[in-house]
Assembly symmetry: C2
């Protein structure tokens, strides 16, 4: 018997396919929503059969979990670098973080908002697996804020009346609500007001 390489049928497998699907899902689901995004439209966008999608992801819900991970990963490094920057006063770091986001929303016409909030509105009552995933991610984001606030408390910039953890949660939740109002009004009023109240009235 002579040995031959196995005969391949069809196009060469794409080693980046999984990541391409997730990045595409992130784009499409962030702008169009979870329910409105069909697996069919995703596989057509990448040019693969539906079966290939399901070889990578057992379900649309599981895929949504990967999309949420990618969303967090995309933002984490920059956020971490900013939050860790001990050369800047802790509350200034937080303000800079929101200023960057406000600029980003201005540049995209106050659309999309936060993927976590959007997925929550659509799926939290219907998918236990996405809900748990969202809960972890909300906690991870809050923890960034918590950390800056704790530093600010230790350095005496803010009162210790409330725990940094509670304030960090409140900050994120209020931001999520401000983003909804922003999307409805298509102006920066709600996110500017958020910053004003949080940094000039709450975090004292």
């Amino acid at each position: 018997m002579t040995s031959h390489p196995p005969i391949r049928r069809g196009p060469k497998p794409n080693p980046n396919l999984r990541s391409e699907l997730v990045q595409m899902g992130l784009r499409v689901m962030h702008s169009g929503g979870y329910t409105a995004t069909g697996v069919q439209s995703l596989v057509e966008g990448v040019g693969i059969p539906k079966g290939t999608f399901y070889r990578h992801f057992p379900s649309k819900e599981a895929f949504a979990g990967e999309v949420l991970n990618a969303y967090f990963e995309r933002n984490k490094a920059a956020l971490q670098a900013l939050i860790d920057n001990a050369e800047i006063a802790p509350l200034t770091r937080l303000e800079m973080f929101f200023d960057k986001l406000i600029d980003a929303f201005r540049s995209i016409g106050f659309a999309r908002g936060c993927l976590l909030g959007n997925f929550t509105a659509e799926t939290a009552d219907h998918s236990e697996s996405i809900r748990e995933h969202l809960s972890e991610q909300f906690n991870a984001w809050s923890a960034f804020f918590d950390r800056c606030i704790l530093e600010a408390q230790k350095q005496g910039y803010i009162s210790k009346q409330y725990s940094s953890s509670l304030l960090g949660r409140f900050l994120l939740n209020s931001w999520e609500g401000a983003l909804l109002r922003m999307r409805v009004e298509k102006t920066d009023a709600a996110i500017i007001e958020f910053k004003e109240i949080i940094f000039k009235k709450l975090l004292l």
Copy 2:
């Protein structure tokens, strides 16, 4: 010629059909979302052909506008009575309003959240008519809060550092965000924290 009443074909028209459709849409869209609710499932639920739906509502978007009106109307009378009750101190009225909502969310397992927030997440970037409708409704809700806060300011309970209108907007927006976190966590933590921060730290 003898006069005969015109011959009717098909079932007797239902004078409440329009309102029944809207009430059903409110239930179904509040629990399942805007995108996930098809006109087909609504007409099947009421037992009418699709054409009849479109004789009442030119589009699903126009229908969503009526659903938002019905949501506001359902809550308005009780809210107005509470907000107008001059026998109770203005901030206490506001607290009572949120306490009632918190109880209501406890009784339904922290599901659904606010229809305005949900519709915003799903439609604000995609339907100009729903977006405008939402913007008006957000303003109408904020105005209730604004009014209590203005009274509290006039009576010297809270500082006038920020306008009652800005505070009323911030209150509603923060509440919307707290509801998202509540739906993700399926506990009352976020809405209790909201009340704590708003009434013990912000509205002073």
